[in-house]
């Protein structure tokens, strides 16, 4: 392995077992090796597998849990740190926004037991609502941000983060990106080391953030930043790799480092293991040792600005974009533009027009019928975050807005109070409702908003791959847990009009939505059907289109079901429809919307033509 493995400071074992791990699995391993005692997270792509992996380590070693949202997860980790134990919270970049209130205050308090937050950014927005840069949060809160560049470093830096957290009395962030989180590469494994026991530190001046205590803590935070900068001047995770050529040098960090090495194998590179705080002396010495300085970093020019502030003419964002995910091609193009690399000969590329294949709701997805009914209700629809956000696309097109976790209900209140001429509806999944929807619903009742909230209860956190939550009756480790009773919860909040409907009964869904809209005040419709993928894959007997009867109205194609596709035969020039028997789960929605009742159970039709 590369120099990084020395960085963790642990003794190298003679015969370390090497295993291919994803970045997420490596972070989990690093936390386990560091002796973590409590870990909590709310699932979010690309960070979800960190806690899933941790839950595979023995329960005697650590407590691992899904929390209701990222703020609760961080508060749980902070609590464990107060209690003197090493603790981890894991989340995606936008999860840190949810946890930001606790995060910013805890930055003053610091840590007792090592306190680490693993945050996974999503440059390129593979599965998120934005591509914010977590390193700025490190700067904002004045806490260190470690940026591993491969899975080995993900393990090593996580171990180091716990040490730094305790040594410098701070939260430490391990920042990854989608690429690292989901790339497998070889990792040398170490043994678990139990951290030395620390008791609760009874020090209100440090742990209770009233103004009188917070003011001196701010001073302590700045002193901590100075010490961290000093540490990072010589820390082995920041390393200079001088090449023969001094005409230019590259400063980079994290997942950009392998791209730089791919494109410029022999270049002089300052590879930063920590992108915050930045060691001024080290930066200055490197900049002085080369003629031109390039900074290669994804998203925001965090390092570039700092280098410029030191008075060096760093070149970065004019060659390497501030948007999207980097790749060897993008890094190469930047260096070509900067005249560092000669442009490659243009290859005659043959590019067939790519097929449009956006992700779709699964065959039999209960959200499909919910949004058919929502769409037919003619309402203004505030959407939320989950698989069902896909219903904003054709053909369902059943959603007008989506902002952030739990926003739908508040947005609906605002639309209604602003006097939207249509009936106003909020649609929100079960996990999202528990995460951040409940305060919005209380607000709606309290302020007597005339809205309908559709709670899309598919009994799981589906979008991230099927994680349990407080409404599923199971914990992260699969143990039985109490289940939230949504009807009782909603009534306790003060909602008078609540109805639960089977999502697959389209007529009942539609009728219930009509009645809910007619109710003045807050109404809640719970659309109830389990996800077809998790926790168990649902497969029922498939349906078949009676081809001779099909009038090609394609009413069923309004569902956007992936099991429905065009048949070769046509009627009035339009394709008839057929059903892919391997995908169809028999939910019957297409049969419910068929205008001439020609979709039947396969066994009743006899031999299928296809």
């Amino acid at each position: 392995m590369k120099a990084a493995s020395e960085a963790a400071g642990g003794p190298q074992q003679a015969k370390a077992e090497v295993r291919p791990l994803t970045g997420n699995e490596a972070i989990a391993r690093g936390a386990w090796e560091a002796g973590v005692k409590v870990a909590a997270a709310y699932p979010g792509t690309p960070s979800t597998e960190i806690l899933e992996s941790l839950a595979r380590y023995p329960a005697e070693d650590l407590h691992a849990q899904w929390s209701t949202n990222e703020k609760v997860a961080l508060d749980v980790a902070i609590g464990a740190s107060f209690a003197g134990k090493r603790a981890l919270a894991a989340m995606k970049h936008v999860g840190l926004n949810v946890a930001a209130d606790a995060f910013m205050s805890q930055a003053y308090i610091g840590s007792n037991g090592g306190l680490v937050i693993a945050v996974a950014d999503d440059p390129g927005i593979h599965s998120s609502q934005n591509e914010q840069d977590t390193r700025i949060y490190g700067q904002f809160a004045t806490v260190p941000v470690l940026e591993p560049s491969d899975a080995q470093e993900a393990l090593d830096f996580t171990r180091l983060a716990f040490e730094l957290s305790e040594r410098f009395d701070t939260i430490a962030i391990v920042r990854t990106t989608t690429r690292l989180a989901h790339t497998r590469s070889p990792v040398a494994l170490g043994a678990r080391q139990e951290a030395p026991a620390r008791g609760f530190n009874e020090s209100p001046a440090k742990n209770v953030m009233i103004p009188a205590h917070a003011r001196p803590r701010h001073v302590a935070v700045l002193e901590r930043e100075r010490k961290l900068k000093e540490y990072f001047e010589t820390a082995p995770i920041n390393r200079v790799e001088m090449g023969g050529d001094r005409a230019f040098g590259v400063i980079t960090a994290g997942t950009c480092y392998p791209y730089v090495r791919e494109v410029l194998p022999g270049a002089s590179v300052l590879k930063l293991g920590a992108s915050w705080p930045l060691p001024e002396g080290l930066l200055a010495r490197f900049c002085e040792s080369v003629e031109r300085v390039f900074v290669v970093e994804e998203l925001e020019p965090v390092i570039e600005r700092e280098v410029r502030a030191l008075g060096f003419k760093a070149e970065g964002k004019q060659f390497f974009p501030r948007v999207g995910e980097f790749s060897p091609e993008i890094v190469r193009a930047g260096f070509e533009k900067a005249s560092v690399l000669a442009p490659r000969a243009q290859r005659p590329a043959w590019t067939p027009e790519p097929l449009v294949r956006p992700p779709v709701l699964c065959a039999g997805c209960p959200h499909t019928s919910s949004y058919m009914a929502v769409r037919a209700s003619g309402a203004r629809v505030a959407g939320d975050i989950g698989c069902y956000t896909l219903a904003c696309l054709d053909p369902l097109r059943g959603m007008d807005t989506t902002v952030s976790m739990g926003s739908s209900i508040g947005n609906a209140i605002g639309m209604s109070k602003a006097g939207d001429t249509k009936p106003v509806m909020a649609t929100i999944g079960d996990s999202t409702f528990l995460h951040a929807g409940i305060p919005g619903l209380i607000d709606a009742v309290y302020n007597n908003a005339n809205i309908t909230v559709v709670l899309l209860d598919n009994h799981i956190t589906a979008m991230t791959g099927g994680q349990d939550h407080a409404g599923t009756g199971k914990t992260l480790r699969g143990e039985a847990a109490p289940r939230v009773d949504y009807e009782a919860l909603v009534r306790a909040i003060g909602v008078k009009w609540v109805r639960t409907v089977d999502s697959y009964d389209l007529a009942a869904m539609y009728q219930t939505l009509r009645e809910a809209i007619a109710h003045r005040g807050v109404s809640v419709v719970i659309s109830n059907r389990p996800c077809v993928l998790d926790p168990v894959k649902i497969k029922g007997p498939a349906l078949t289109v009676v081809n001779e009867q099909c009038n090609a109205c394609q009413s069923c194609m309004n569902l956007g079901c992936p099991a429905l596709t065009w048949d070769e035969n046509t009627f009035e020039g339009r394709h008839k429809v057929k059903i892919d028997q391997s995908l169809c789960i028999g939910c019957t929605l297409c049969a419910q919307v068929c205008t001439i009742d020609c979709i039947k159970p396969t066994h009743s039709v006899g031999a299928v033509a296809q």
Binding site: H126, S127, P328, R375, N551, S555, G573, H575
Partner: protein, 299 residues
């Protein structure tokens, strides 16, 4: 230091792209090579396109394969294979593609008479002309013959195995390691058939051209030409303003007028699909398909 070997494996969510790439990565690692395997699977379960980069060698830097540098492109679905063609080495890349077509709902949204399916139209022969070495296998059909449609991905793994320098026994160990325990036997058979298929294809065409290797794909023919234009007849007296037609029109081209009677607001969008006619509880809507070309009207 030698360049790493770059294998790009692509397909649609649920086809087993990740399983195939994990098996390859495991095999390369067991031979003592440095391996990086990178995937983006946030949307994998939802029928989106899935891809996995596998790179191995003495030293591997970038986890992703740069455009134009894949040695081998293995595609579990036809259009996904075409999507990633620009990543293949133009002068030496090997293209191994299942002719299986998974048509997304998006490809079937145009209701105009004669509208084509929006699925890739390139034929295997056209694709072959643009790659150094190409194989279009009907692996799904072969897997169905074995009695397990899901073994198609291992047939492709068998095909891939002929292009890389690992012994077949080790490949079979990798297959056994990663497929569900109950399906090991059928998958090992699938692996051998995939291998044999490629070897036979090479035998038939010993040159790098390998013309016989390209089997005909099942590409949909364009539909019949549009012959009529839609016209809506709405009987005002019969309409009771229920607005079912307005809410369920797929093109959203209907509305209620000032007197709350259905009207065609955007005639250019109307495809004449008759859904409003079928759904109207009061028979107030009739869709006429007026001939626009005399020769088409007879149909």
């Amino acid at each position: 230091m030698s360049e790493p070997v770059n294998v790009l494996i692509v397909g649609v969510g649920g086809q087993g792209v990740i399983m195939v790439s994990k098996a390859l990565a495991w095999l390369a690692q067991s031979r003592g090579l440095e391996v990086k395997q990178s995937e983006v699977h946030g949307m994998a379960k939802r029928g989106g396109s899935v891809f996995s980069h596998v790179r191995f060698g003495e030293q591997v830097w970038s986890p992703t394969i740069p455009r134009g540098e894949a040695d081998i492109l293995v595609a579990l679905e036809w259009a996904e294979g075409l999507r990633w063609l620009p990543f293949l080495k133009p002068e030496a890349g090997i293209f191994i593609c299942d002719t299986k077509r998974i048509v997304p709902p998006f490809a079937c949204l145009n209701r105009r008479p004669g509208a084509p399916m929006r699925y890739s139209r390139e034929t295997p022969a056209e694709v072959k002309a643009h790659v150094a070495e190409g194989y279009a296998i009907d692996a799904t059909q072969m897997a169905e013959e074995l009695g397990n449609e899901r073994a198609a991905n291992v047939i492709l793994l068998g095909a891939l195995s002929t292009a890389l320098d690992f012994p077949p026994e080790d490949w079979e160990k990798a297959v056994a390691e990663f497929v569900p325990k109950k399906t090991v036997a059928v998958n090992l058979e699938a692996f051998r058939r995939g291998r044999a298929w490629i070897e036979e294809a090479r035998l038939l065409a010993p040159t790098a051209e390998a013309p016989a290797a390209i089997a005909p794909a099942r590409v949909s023919p364009p539909g019949p030409a549009p012959a009529y234009a839609p016209r809506l007849e709405i009987v005002r007296e019969w309409c009771k303003s229920c607005d079912i037609c307005v809410k369920l029109c797929p093109e959203r081209c209907l509305r209620l007028d000032a007197e709350r009677i259905a009207e065609l607001a955007d005639p250019a969008k109307c495809t004449g699909c008759r859904l409003c006619e079928w759904l109207c509880p009061d028979f107030a809507i009739r869709v006429h398909l007026d001939a626009v070309a005399p020769q088409g009207a007879a149909a």
